[in-house]
């Protein structure tokens, strides 16, 4: 208890000194950037945290930081870590916020309690344990923030739906992108079939320029969609078959023999225009 009191007193007594040194330590290590983290923000964060920290240690609990006394302080630390993580700080740089308090604090403890042989050891130990815990907390918080970012990106990728676009009256296009062997693909294909009915289209172009691998499963998905569309009275054109994909498909034995295919989307559109009786001509300039 004495040790705790000593430390609490120390933090109160030397507030200005500690804050100044702590901020100085941080500024020496943390990468500052006008658009990212300014000196002002470092000072603000440090002062806010120092105040919350003082309130927390006044509760007398320096070992267990999971208690109610520490809740606000940890939340603040969490926020500081989160914002720095999002700015692209490394784990070392985020943990520096806490660890850079060590040197000024230890120097001060040495100076203040140095007369008594036993005390500085206890104080140092208590301070070191506490700061290590807080430092580890920033590491956990860092990982948590990164995981949140990953989860968000995963969701965003799942939601990357491929839109069915109307190219012309009675002509639809479905530009497919990415991996085609997922459940997502089936959803996309179903959407196409529904759109064919809704827009009363007679030609649907499936463009696979953005699909890196076409294997038998992908081919099967495509063939099923084409057959279904055909049953509904719409013709499908598969476009965007690149040379390397074409060669691989031939070796695989997938022929798409009764499906109209084109190398580029432009070719497919031209074919679709011909099918639907659309004529495109260059307008003669009138002066």
């Amino acid at each position: 208890m004495d040790t705790n009191n000593n430390l609490t007193e120390l933090f109160k007594k030397y507030e200005q000194e500690l804050l100044t040194d702590w901020i100085k330590e941080q500024l020496a290590v943390i990468p500052l950037h006008e658009n990212l983290l300014t000196e002002f923000e470092v000072k603000q964060d440090t002062t806010d945290f120092y105040n919350a920290f003082q309130l927390a240690i006044q509760g007398g609990e320096l070992v267990d930081i999971k208690g109610a006394h520490w809740e606000k302080t940890l939340q603040l630390l969490d926020n500081i870590t989160k914002s720095r993580t999002r700015l692209g700080f490394t784990p070392t740089e985020t943990a520096t916020f806490i660890f850079s308090l060590k040197q000024p604090l230890f120097t001060l403890i040495q100076k203040e309690f140095g007369r008594d042989v036993n005390t500085p050891g206890k104080e140092l130990w208590a301070a070191t344990v506490l700061l290590d815990k807080l430092g580890l907390y920033t590491a956990e918080s860092y990982i948590k923030t990164k995981e949140e970012i990953i989860r968000r990106q995963q969701n965003e990728m799942l939601e990357l739906s491929t839109p069915v676009v109307k190219v012309w009256d009675k002509i639809l296009a479905l530009p497919l992108i990415g991996t085609l062997d997922s459940i997502r693909t089936q959803v996309v294909m179903e959407t196409l079939l529904q759109e064919i009915v809704r827009t009363e289209s007679s030609v649907a172009i499936i463009d696979i320029t953005g699909v890196p691998t076409v294997d038998t499963l992908v081919a099967q998905h495509l063939m099923k969609t084409v057959s279904a569309a055909r049953l509904m009275g719409a013709e499908c054109i598969i476009s965007g078959i690149r040379p390397q994909i074409a060669q691989s498909m031939v070796h695989l034995g997938v022929t798409f023999s009764d499906i109209t295919t084109r190398a580029t989307l432009a070719d497919a559109i031209r074919h679709a225009f011909a099918q639907t009786g659309v004529k495109v001509s260059r307008a003669s300039r009138q002066v």
Binding site: V214, T216, V254
Partner: protein, 133 residues
């Protein structure tokens, strides 16, 4: 001689995508051309999916190998699944037990330079493919 080797788990559909991406990265690394890259990646996709769908999961080992003065990418797919009763039949175009096109195994053989399959009913299946540069 194996210059570089890595083994990936093949348990679910997503793993097929990962194996494919690694195969493509290694194919690019050893300098395979665009067509050859696409061929080995397509074969990888077929065999990896077979491992997951028919073999009940297993592993894919990707080796960069050196033989004499040629380099190649060798992929080995292993599972401890039900195995294949009749390998010749399984290698026939259009033969399938799972409702696919029946071209995966036979097509893969045509996409690569070396192809070997070893299967024992009740023990499992191992398929190896190599594309040389």
């Amino acid at each position: 001689m194996i210059l570089k080797s890595e083994t990936l788990e093949l348990r679910e559909d997503n793993a097929v995508v990962r194996v494919r991406q690694r195969a493509r990265a290694l194919a690019i690394e050893i300098g395979l051309g665009l067509v050859d890259q696409t061929k080995i990646v397509t074969a990888t996709s077929e065999l990896a999916r077979n491992t997951v769908d028919y073999g009940g999961g297993g592993t894919a080992t990707l080796d960069v190998i050196n033989e004499g003065n040629r380099r190649g990418l060798k992929l080995t797919f292993s599972d401890q699944g039900p195995g294949i009763e009749n390998i010749d039949l399984a290698l026939t175009d259009g033969y399938t037990t799972g409702g696919g096109l029946g071209l995966g195994l036979s097509g893969s053989r045509r996409l690569v330079n070396d192809f070997s399959i070893d299967s024992t009913p009740g023990i499992g299946t191992t398929v190896s493919i190599t594309r040389w540069i």
